[in-house]
């Protein structure tokens, strides 16, 4: 990358950050997210991973359904395991699956959307039919079938979410590509002898990247919620602690009936907080990206 | 003695933008008689469109507007909303550039022409409005059945005619045409100009014609005013100014439109260096001096006022 291009990238990043800092909603979202990311990263320091093992929990003499007063900070569950440990370690899976699944979604959606929009013709028609097919199929039955067929693991969940969520991204990007394709500077590039690759990488991508980023940031909470749902339905990885799994276990073991609120409230709030954080950040980025997409002339 | 239909005195307009206050008009005064015609020439940033919108108080609410605008005896800047609505379209109407976005894409052309009639109750019923609409369409050179077309079904020239018909809906005394022929083909432009001249004669309309194309104005208007950086820098009879301008800017602008057949401009394009100034960022003293071929040190000191430069002519330049 030439020094001119590098300088330019730094300047752009700085500009986006300066604008972002001015947005209260953006900074609040970023703050919340930072807390949970730190929690996920520092999990070993915050909670002993052995606490997730019911055998270890029993050997420690933990109480059964112990409220927080008895077993700080968040009490124990039906297997005498520390709820706090589940909360801290669960954040890892929820965040990781959320991000990884989003990356897969955006990757598939962007490639299909950009290729479809740029190439046009029969390829576009064909790809759009496939996209519509995926959009029309009810998500949950498809996810259940896929999870049942592929087996229950974190990677399979990521795959399931990615493979079922890409259509809306693809459609959004295709529409944007169609608009950018019409612009005069693309004609200019063509008249300079540019081939498809040059036009897509130098002209199309930079003018849709803002949209991709904003879309990605808003897709993360959806992925997290989807993982939660799948885990809640029992399709998640039985070995991995996740907030969705916590909710599922709380539900099926009667935590609601005996009002062991310390079991399901933290996980629920955690999901709420992270989804909110990403939504706020995504909206702020969209606001910053949009004036640039249409107004920077 | 003809009365003055429109009097503008020391009009100052400042927009409030994200980047700070922007003075679009900095003290414009002009007068237009009943049935007269005035051309306003200027380039981007000179404030001519702002002036057109100001006369009918169509500027955004937060804009600072100072000065006086008297239209048909009404003090436009101080009218209450009811009075303003009564004046708009009946005393003065605007014809915008006929681009697709000047017309509502989901309404037929006939409905849009009839709208002001119904709003101002100059007709008694929908049927009457329809009759008048068709007659107006005919007058501007379109067939009556065009009333049922949508804007996208018409050509650029036809859309422009629709906008003219719409402006005439309530029989105004003043027609303000803001860049009505820009982006139109040569022949279509000539047709529209001819139409405006005819209408002016028929109805004793006062015409204010705003454009950046100086040569077009010399056709359509008796009086000409050239604007630069939010002020009028030269005014007087149209042909005279075009042939023999007093202000260096006007001279530069006129030279940009060569006379075909004149060998001095053959293979010798002429224009001004630099760029028209942005309203928020004017040079000190005379705003034109950085680009002026006759610029001197004194030009930087003070902005010149309009001074007499001939019979019925004025120019804002210290060299006059």
């Amino acid at each position: 990358m030439t020094s001119v291009a590098l300088q330019r990238r730094k300047a752009t990043a700085l500009r986006v950050w300066t604008q972002f800092r001015l947005s209260r909603q953006g900074m609040v979202g970023l703050g919340i997210l930072a807390v949970f990311v730190l929690m996920a990263v520092a999990a070993p320091l915050l909670a002993d991973v052995r606490e997730l093992n019911p055998v270890y929990a029993r050997s420690q003499g933990n109480p059964l359904w112990g409220p927080p007063g008895e077993f700080p900070p968040l009490g124990t569950d039906y297997l005498r395991r520390s709820v706090w440990a589940q909360f801290v370690w669960g954040s890892r899976v929820s965040l990781f699956v959320g991000l990884a699944a989003t990356v897969l979604t955006i990757l598939i959606g962007s490639v299909i959307g950009i290729v479809s929009g740029f190439v046009g013709g029969r390829l576009d028609a064909g790809l759009m039919r496939i996209t519509e097919w995926f959009l029309v199929i009810p998500f949950l039955p498809l996810a259940i079938v896929l999870a049942a067929v592929l087996g229950r693991s974190v990677w399979n969940i990521i795959f399931v979410i990615g493979v079922t969520s890409w259509p809306s991204t693809a459609r959004l990007l295709r529409a944007q590509v169609l608009t950018v394709k019409q612009r005069l500077f693309v004609d200019r590039a063509r008249s300079l002898g540019a081939g498809g690759w040059h036009i897509v990488s130098r002209h199309i991508l930079p003018n849709v990247s803002g949209l991709i980023l904003a879309n990605a940031t808003l897709a993360v909470p959806i992925s997290i919620l989807t993982e939660t749902t799948l885990s809640f339905l029992g399709l998640g990885d039985p070995g991995a602690a996740s907030w969705g799994k916590t909710l599922e276990e709380a539900f099926s073991n009667g935590a609601m009936i005996i009002n062991a609120w310390w079991y399901f409230v933290p996980a629920g709030l955690g999901i709420l907080a992270v989804v909110l954080a990403f939504t706020l950040i995504g909206r702020t980025l969209e606001e910053i990206a949009n004036p640039r997409l249409s107004g920077e002339r | 003695m003809s009365q003055s239909l429109l009097t503008v005195r020391d009009l100052r307009v400042t927009y409030h933008t994200a980047g700070g206050p922007v003075p679009a008009l900095r003290g414009v005064s002009l007068e237009l008689e009943k049935g007269g015609s005035l051309g306003l020439a200027g380039e981007s940033g000179c404030g001519k469109s702002t002036l057109a919108l100001a006369i009918l108080r169509l500027l955004p609410v937060e804009t600072d507007v100072e000065g006086e605008i008297i239209l048909d005896g009404h003090d436009v800047l101080n009218l209450n909303p009811g009075g303003l609505r009564a004046v708009r379209w009946t005393s003065g109407a605007i014809v915008f550039q006929g681009a697709l976005h000047a017309l509502n894409p989901v309404q037929t052309v006939g409905d849009q022409i009839a709208e002001p009639m119904l709003v101002h109750e100059t007709v008694g019923s929908d049927k009457e409005a329809r009759v008048r609409t068709e007659s107006l369409l005919g007058r501007v050179g379109l067939t009556g059945n065009r009333a049922d077309s949508y804007p996208h079904q018409l050509s650029g020239g036809q859309r422009q005619r629709v906008l003219i018909a719409m402006a005439l809906a309530c029989d105004p005394l003043l027609l303000i045409a803001d860049e009505p022929t820009t982006a139109l083909d040569l022949m279509v432009q000539a047709q529209v100009l001819a139409l405006l001249s005819e209408l002016k004669r028929e109805r004793d309309l006062a015409l204010m014609f705003i454009t950046h194309d100086l040569s077009v104005l010399t056709y359509a208007c008796d009086q000409l005013a050239v604007m630069y950086a939010g002020r009028i820098v030269e005014e007087g009879p149209g042909w005279e100014i075009f042939e023999d301008a007093s202000h260096p800017y006007t001279r530069g602008l006129a030279a940009a439109f060569p006379t075909i057949g004149d060998m001095s401009s053959r293979l010798a394009p002429s224009g001004l260096g630099g760029d028209p100034p942005t309203p928020g960022n004017l040079p000190p003293g005379c705003p034109f001096h950085p680009r002026c071929p006759l610029g001197r040190d004194e030009c930087r000191l003070e902005e010149p006022e309009l001074r007499v430069s001939g019979a019925g002519r004025r120019a804002a330049c210290i060299l006059v």
Binding site: D187 | E43, G156, M187, I260, G261
Partner: protein
């Protein structure tokens, strides 16, 4: 003509049809090296389609385009570069001026002395000092400067032909002269040929050596600028000239109606329904009948000066 010098551009009987719509319908023209040809026409005349075909952006239905004797088969030929009508739209808002000007070189994978070449191209286009513009973005410079950037981006490829589609139409009037003067200077300094498409006859007067007038897909009249603009022969050219505000000596001939739909071409001479000469009833019956029934055909390729009009051709015998 120029004896011994072969034409730089030769468009021979070009047809570009979009289904039933015949946008270009048998147009032929020639541009010699170092010559500026103004292609004059209104919207619907086919001039933009013709230019796109020469640029390689539009495949012709039939006919040939030869650049420097080589038939155009490739999508682009660096010998031919374009200056666009809308300099703001022609520049990618995400690219710096440096990247925009260097783009053509990078596409060709010619990276030797890139920086020097960009500097020279910007300087030649009147943007000095060039370094000051490297890091800037299109929205940070004025309209006139953007057009100069477009010109720099074209000249860096060392073309022999510049195609300009209304190069100053969207610029402020006072800076037109400078851009036109720059274009003329490039011709004088580099032996560049320019094919400029415009409806502005004053522009043709300012920079063109020859003029070709286009109507409904065909060239109706061609010749040296002085001839066409001072003593036009085709009634369409005369009518156009009469309404140009800068020529007041002529009586205005405002044509009725607009250019007919491409799918609905008139019989005989395409211009006859709007022809003031025909309507003036001064022509003989024989010629008038020919105008309505027979198509005079397009102006032939090798004409130095010709008009596709029955009365004109009759008076030349």
């Amino acid at each position: 003509m120029h004896p011994g010098v072969s034409p730089l551009v030769e468009v021979d009987d070009l047809h570009v049809h979009f289904g039933v719509a015949r946008a270009v319908d048998g147009a032929s023209l020639r541009v010699m090296p170092g010559e500026v040809l103004a292609l004059v026409g209104e919207s619907g005349s086919g001039k933009t389609t013709l230019i796109r075909a020469i640029q390689g952006l539009q495949k012709p239905t039939s006919g040939t385009i030869q650049i420097d004797g080589v038939t155009q088969a490739v999508i682009h030929d660096p010998t031919v570069q374009t200056v666009f009508q809308d300099p703001t739209g022609a520049l990618n808002p995400r690219q710096t001026i440096y990247e925009i000007v260097a783009e053509g070189l990078r596409i060709k994978k010619d990276s030797s002395d890139e920086r020097v070449k960009v500097e020279n191209a910007l300087a030649r286009a009147g943007l000095r000092p060039p370094e000051r513009f490297f890091q800037r973005y299109p929205h940070e410079i004025s309209g006139g400067q953007r057009q100069r950037v477009v010109i720099a981006g074209a000249m860096i490829m060392e073309p022999r032909l510049l195609l300009a589609d209304e190069p100053v139409a969207s610029l402020d009037a006072s800076i037109r002269g400078e851009i036109l003067a720059l274009m003329r200077q490039l011709v004088d300094d580099h032996g560049l040929a320019i094919l400029v498409v415009t409806h502005d006859l004053g522009l043709a007067w300012n920079i063109a050596d020859r003029v070709a007038v286009m109507y409904l897909g065909r060239i109706l009249e061609t010749g040296p600028t002085e001839e066409i603009l001072d003593k036009p022969r085709h009634p369409y050219t005369r009518a156009l000239l009469s309404v140009v505000p800068e020529t007041r000596e002529m009586e205005q001939q405002i044509l009725k109606g607009e250019i007919p739909d491409l799918t609905n071409m008139p019989t005989g001479c395409r211009f006859h329904p709007r022809c003031p000469l025909l309507q003036s009833a001064t022509l003989s019956e024989e010629i008038s009948a020919r105008c309505v029934a027979d198509d005079p055909g397009p102006v032939p390729l090798d004409s130095i000066s010709a008009a596709a009009c029955w009365p004109v051709m009759a008076s030349q015998r």
